[in-house]
Amino acid sequence: MRFCRKPAGRAGQAAGGEDDGGDLAVQRKPARPGLGRERLLSLVLVAPSLVVFGMFIFWPLVRTFQLSTTGQDLFGRPNRQVGFANFSGVLHDPQFSQVLEVTAAYVLLTVIPSILFALVLALLLQSPLRGLRILRSAFAMPFAYSVAAASVVFAALFNPAIGIANYLVTSLGFAPVNWLTKPGTALLSIAITTVWMNVGYNMLVMLAGVGGVDEQLYEAARLDGAGTFRIARSITIPLITPSLFFLVVVDTIASLQSFGQIRLLTRGGPTGHTTTLVYWIYHTAFENGASDYGTGSAQAIVLLVVVIVITAVQFGILERKVFYR
């Protein structure tokens, strides 16, 4: 489900560390009659998935590397080998450092607030309260919004003339802001949109983590005279670090892959101030019929490397601080 910006990549990413083996079939005695047929059957059953993966993931992966060393004619048809020219073009492109900065800033501006926001919500929602179920469903609602739906709504909210954002700003006595066209606020506006979109999902994950904490620990803490904040700091948060870690990883990856909100709110502008890696690929290969597939593929490989490296680093650093039961 790599097409889905949100859930799929997420569940899969965290799954990476899962064990293998222990499947029922492994424990069975070998050399049974009909084992050959069973093996054949099993291969037939995984074949449909493998064919799809081969055609639309593995072969395209190989093709991306091929295309990244290929030049093309004016219509985008690959026509000659250029070695690493596309890569050196990307690395020496004055926009490259800006793109990396924007991407990093965007990741920080979305991941940290998304997780803190959801953590506060989960802590507030953790103990019983009348109407809790309704509240939880309400907070989950942003999860129902597709990236297009959310972006289109926030485009209206950030509208400089008739949007609510400027209504609030001017009511407080400040000058109206051109949210989406000013370099200083464009990325922030997109980040706000993304954080809002993430809240529902992040809260659900966090609540599942909070729900898994042993109730006896709370009782023991209360008997020892611990207050609300002390319980949150010393019991809840340490015990839900697996959920926190999971969210850091999947939110970062989702953030690196964000596209729709940028396309719909700013189109990468003003002057590249919201052009992230993914939007850069789109801009180079597709926007306004650009058709520079060679350079786009080189950029795509940069994205691939960045995603894999960041995931590996996160697993390496964060996993050590995670408390597993």
Binding site: M1, R2, F3, C4, K6, P7, A8, G12, Q13, A14, A15, G16, G17, E18, D20, L24, A25, L41, L45, V46, S49, V51, V52, F53, I57, P60, L67, L124, R136, S137, F139, A140, M141, P142, A144, S146, V147, A148, V152, V153, F154, A156, N159, A161, I162, I164, Y167, L204, A208, G209, F246, L247, L256, G260, I281, F286, A300, L303, L304, V307
Partner: protein, 305 residues
């Protein structure tokens, strides 16, 4: 509180002395309660504040869709409708072929969901219940598919569709997503917890693989199937970049791209856009509201071990 009231009512005459004596007790009782009560109030207020913050865009979507231009497209914007209108809902179908796009999105999402469920059930069955050769390697292959960002391989996929004249077809919209590692992963986890005794009993009764799968395993795995189904449907329904690249004729576009066109063409008409968003939200909002427990299971497949 009530303790003091009672004591005052019980001995109204000896007022001063009594209340002086009662004071420490009632004060202690009060402070003993006061802390939790204050914490409750703070908690409820914080939740209400956050709810307003989180729900305002939702409110704006739905209420904006029934506001006339005088309300929604004015400065300062109106926060509530002065009169209800359904003109936006009529208008949005004229602005973009929304009915057709609704159908396209439904068809594409349903096809992808059914195909991914089928592929996932088959491969998860092979991983768990059959003597699959190269099991570890194959499982690594399935997991690897989840780590490759789709955006990094989108150019060759786009070129493949263009080369085979598949742009603006349903085939292009569904083909790359007919199988996914996520469903296999989640179903494999679910199948692995399946009681071995039941499996052995079925084998002893002479049930074939197909019979065991269809009459015993799948009915008992409904929650896991629902998780995968809801997940795949949501992500298919919400797809944006791929349909944007692969379709340019409005009749072949999905609802999400329709929303994008609405946003480009009807900037002066936010009510119309909100009507489109509200319609697009109906199926996903229903899934989030009613399928929450399945969602949580799918969401946290790797988070809570």
């Amino acid at each position: 509180m009530s303790a003091r009231a009672k004591s005052e009512r019980a001995q109204p005459v000896s007022a001063r002395a009594e209340s002086e004596r009662a004071q420490p007790v009632s004060a202690r009782a009060k402070s003993g309660q006061a802390r939790p009560v204050n914490a409750r109030i703070v908690r409820v207020l914080a939740l209400l504040l956050l709810a307003v913050l989180v729900l305002f865009p939702v409110y704006f979507t739905v209420v904006g869709s029934v506001m006339g231009p005088g309300d929604i497209a004015s400065a300062p914007p109106s926060l509530y409708p002065h009169s209800l209108t359904f003109a936006n809902y009529r208008g949005v179908f004229r602005a973009v072929p929304l009915g057709r796009q609704y159908l396209n999105s439904t068809l594409v999402a349903v096809l992808i969901t059914l195909a991914q469920l089928t592929c996932a059930v088959l491969s998860a069955y092979a991983f768990v219940f059959l003597a699959l050769p190269f099991r570890r390697t194959l499982f690594a292959v399935f997991l690897f598919t989840l780590m490759v960002p789709w955006e990094s391989i989108i150019i060759p996929n786009f070129l493949f569709m263009a080369d085979h004249q598949l742009r603006n077809t349903y085939l292009a919209l569904v083909l790359p997503f007919l199988a996914g590692g996520f469903g296999t992963f989640l179903l494999r986890q679910s199948f692995r917890t399946f009681p071995v005794e039941l499996r052995d009993a079925a084998t002893l009764d002479g049930a074939s693989h197909g019979r065991f799968l269809l009459t015993i395993l799948l009915p008992l795995s409904r929650p896991a199937l629902a998780s995968v189904g809801i997940f795949v449907f949501l992500s298919a329904w919400n797809q944006f970049l791929w349909p944007l690249l692969i379709t340019d004729s409005p009749q072949r576009q999905t609802l999400q791209i329709g929303l994008a066109s609405l946003n480009d063409a009807e900037q002066a008409n936010p009510g119309l856009i909100m009507a489109g968003v509200t319609l697009a939200l109906l199926p996903t909002a229903a899934l989030v509201a009613f399928g929450q427990r399945f969602l949580i299971r799918g969401l946290t497949a790797g988070a809570v071990r």
